[in-house]
Amino acid sequence: MHPKRKKIMVGVVALVIGISLAVTLALKAFQENLMYFFSPSEVIAGAAPETRNFRIGGLVVEDSVVRDRDSLLVEFVLTDTVNQVKVSYDGILPDLFREGQGIVANGRLNSQGVFVASEVLAKHDENYMPPEVAEAMEKAASNSP
């Protein structure tokens, strides 16, 4: 082979190997960080994964918010109007967290079936319902007898 061609071939091969390595690593990280959304009804039905993080969304049940006296630990109940899941969170809740408001939380289930949230998200608009929550409520309502 022509030496110049050879050099170019080496470059191309190195580039291809580099890119495929990067793509493989990226896709692996991508797979691991996909967070699926589940409604309280789906969580109760056991559809949610037990070993990895996922997102849950619903309305915060009125009078369900319980704060710890000394720390920032807080517990509340999320509902899609049919089923309920208890959520615990240690930290400062977002500005628009209120009872009756639709929220989304990231985290995972513990062995008692309580959802331990690492992050709680509420939308910055009082009229705004997270679309996932709206859809989950619709689905729950249509599935219940």
Partner: protein, 659 residues
């Protein structure tokens, strides 16, 4: 009356855009110089009408004309004047008007700064920008008219979203749009060049300053957005990999690749096809960004529009622009690969690596941003991609990029030798390794390797930038004169590269050494963080123009020395009954002290969050350096000189015929 005039001005602007797009193209086709000459006056008239429309909308906001639906939704009689003006682009309809207005600013800038170009080329460029304008004006008039009246005007308006009532948000959107829309110039030039079949280095030389300026605006816009998120959202974070942030970051990545690839195309007549493809991609991603933010498909703070009809319109628009330009590219891109030869070890190769890395990074961000949308659209469930994915992909990609920056600028065009390069870089490499590792060890954090890596790379970039400067003046007789005689473009590049390094330092140190505390605090309580003692004085009630605030006043001591008093607020905006956190920040070059109020916990105490963030300012300081570097490079005098020589040397037959 005034809103109707504004609406009429928009319709007139659309008519001008039609003239601006169709006559020049027909003129080129049928060889009618008079038709082609219509391009510039039509563009200027279009701009005039858009300014009128924009002024009419602004007037409606200033005078509280709540009979206009858009004003009623986004303003209030208690809203202070500066926010009434910025409310013009505070939501969907007005920001579209701003988008086309900025497009017309760029267009007339092209008409003023490039009358030395061959008339055919200029006519085509302006016509392409006119076509884009037609698309957006049609979209605005058909689906999002900001001047729509309400049959029964409300007594008062619904107020501007309190998140947007902030000085940072007055300039963030216009900056970002200047950047997005600025890539339309590079795009229009690429399309015009493809239409004419003349892709040469003159094309690259001409579009370089425009592309760099668009990039400067985009850089500033992104940095402003990040800074705003940092102090306004109250979480102390500066980047969230939120889809809307990604939407502005993707054109930035490709834009960065584009300005580097243009350099190679101009100087060495290589990568022409690739550069054109990057120009098309950068603008397509800008459109995609507009689409992602404005169509409401994304669940995000920024996505204020939630009308699917608009989304479909933009999707069609996007399809036409991207599909059409790629089709043209496939048909017209120079097929014969007769570009200038270069060896494996040359600046061309390093610039190619830069392009590839930035494109791969963009693809990774695109995947993480669009995948949830696609899955949702196919009805396969709701999911989101966590920030760890982006960090995991991004950090390893930035390592080779930073390495290449140091060598690439030093390497010679066409061919270089390893020996020469190694001789030139070995001391810088050694010094940055030693200093970086030593500092990382002395800081003794938990993530020693990451900190050392970040610092070594940053010092490597800074060191090799100065090394390059030294190499350039080393052999001159009078080094001081040589130093002053270096072109602005060179200093611009150096400053921008150093800016990148400064940002790396900021990101590395602030993400590994930030500490924070969440605590329940009553008046008189105190706590210690990172060597500082925070004493909560008291909570005060403060009335604002359209909100009521509770203000926490905290005194900060280091040992016995008083440092500052930090005031942070929790505001309740009365019209929307919406709470907002105003973080209190004691900013410094080497550390920020950041306090945000959580919630009232009864018995007079609040949950408070306190952060110590070392070197966080460096993230934005680096962006400022990058933007200044871009300005310096774009103002290099050789662009002005070369344009003249291009106009005389180019021997396009039409150009001759039209003289």
């Amino acid at each position: 009356m005034i809103p109707e005039l504004g609406h009429f001005a928009m319709v007139m602007a659309l008519c001008m855009a039609l003239i601006q797009a169709l006559f020049p193209l027909a003129g080129v086709r049928f060889n009618r110089p008079a038709w082609m000459a219509l391009a510039s006056p039509a563009a200027r008239l279009q701009c005039l009408f858009l300014v009128l429309a924009f002024a009419a909308l602004t007037y409606a906001f200033i005078t509280h004309d709540f009979s206009v639906a858009y004003v009623a939704q986004n303003s209030n009689s208690a809203l202070p004047l500066p926010y009434r003006i910025s409310a013009v682009w505070g939501a969907h309809e007005g920001s579209l008007l701003l988008w086309v207005l900025i497009l017309s600013f760029w267009t007339i800038a092209v008409t003023y700064f490039s009358h030395n170009l061959p008339p055919v080329l200029l006519a085509r460029i302006i016509a392409v920008m006119g076509l884009i304008s037609i698309g957006f004006l049609l979209f605005t008039l058909a689906t999002s008219n900001p001047f729509e009246r309400l049959a029964t005007p409300p007594m008062d308006g619904a107020d501007l979203n309190p998140l947007l009532q902030d000085p940072g948000l007055i300039i963030h959107p216009p900056m970002l749009y200047m950047g997005y829309v600025g890539f339309s110039v590079a795009f229009a030039f690429a399309i015009a060049a493809l239409l004419g079949g003349h892709l040469d280095s003159a094309w690259a030389r001409w579009s370089r300053p425009w592309t760099v300026m668009a990039w400067v605006f985009l850089t500033s816009g992104i940095a402003l957005g990040s800074w705003w998120a940092y102090y306004e959202l109250g979480w102390g974070g500066w980047w969230f990999w939120d889809p809307v942030e990604n939407a502005s970051f993707m054109p930035w990545l490709i834009g960065t690749a584009l300005i580097h690839s243009l350099a190679a195309t101009e100087k060495r007549d290589v990568f022409k096809n690739w550069t054109v493809l990057l120009a098309i991609t950068a603008f397509s991603l800008s459109l995609l960004g507009t689409f992602l933010v404005r169509s409401g498909v994304i669940t995000s703070v920024h996505a204020f529009a939630t009308d699917p009809a608009r989304g479909i319109f933009i999707l069609v628009l996007l399809g036409i622009v991207i599909g059409g330009s790629l089709l043209l590219y496939a048909m017209r891109a120079p097929g014969n690969f007769r570009s200038s030869p270069f060896s494996l070890l040359s600046r061309e190769t390093f610039l190619l690596i830069n392009s590839v890395i930035l494109s791969v990074a963009m693809a990774a961000v695109l995947l993480g941003t669009l995948y949830p949308l696609v899955i949702d659209a196919l009805g396969m469930g709701k999911l989101s991609v966590g920030a760890p994915y982006f960090n995991f992909v991004f950090v390893p990609l930035m390592v080779p990029l930073a390495l290449v920056i140091g060598v690439g600028a030093l390497a010679r065009w066409r061919a270089d030798e390893w020996q020469r390069l190694w001789h030139s870089i070995k001391y810088v490499l050694l010094a940055s390794l030693v200093i970086g590792v030593l500092i990382a060890v002395s800081l003794s954090g938990s993530a020693l390797f990451q900190v050392a890596l970040g610092l070594v790379l940053a010092f490597w970039i800074i060191g090799s930038s100065f090394n390059l400067l030294y190499e350039r003046i080393r052999l001159q007789k009078n080094r001081l004169v040589a130093l002053l005689n270096q072109p602005r473009a060179f200093y611009g590049m150096t400053l921008a590269h150093i800016g990148f390094a400064v940002t790396i330092i900021g990101i590395t140190l602030s993400s590994h050494f930030s500490t924070d505390l969440d605590k329940r605090m009553a008046p008189g309580d105190s706590l210690s963080l990172a060597g500082y003692r925070f004493v909560l004085d008291n909570y005060h009630s403060i009335p604002g123009p359209n909100y009521n605030a509770t203000e926490a006043r905290m005194r900060v001591y280091k040992g016995d020395r008083f440092v500052s008093e930090i005031r942070s607020q929790k505001r309740i905006y009365t019209v929307r009954d919406m709470p907002m956190t105003e973080a209190g920040i004691d900013a410094g070059l080497f550390r920020d002290l950041y306090i945000s109020m959580g919630e009232p916990l009864g018995d007079g105490s609040w949950s408070m969050r306190i952060y110590h963030k070392p070197f966080v300012r460096w993230i934005w300081l680096g962006a400022i350096f990058m933007a200044l570097g871009g300005i310096l490079a774009a103002s290099d005098k050789r662009y002005r000189l070369r344009i003249r020589s291009y106009a005389t040397s180019s021997s396009g037959d039409m150009a001759e015929a039209l003289k």
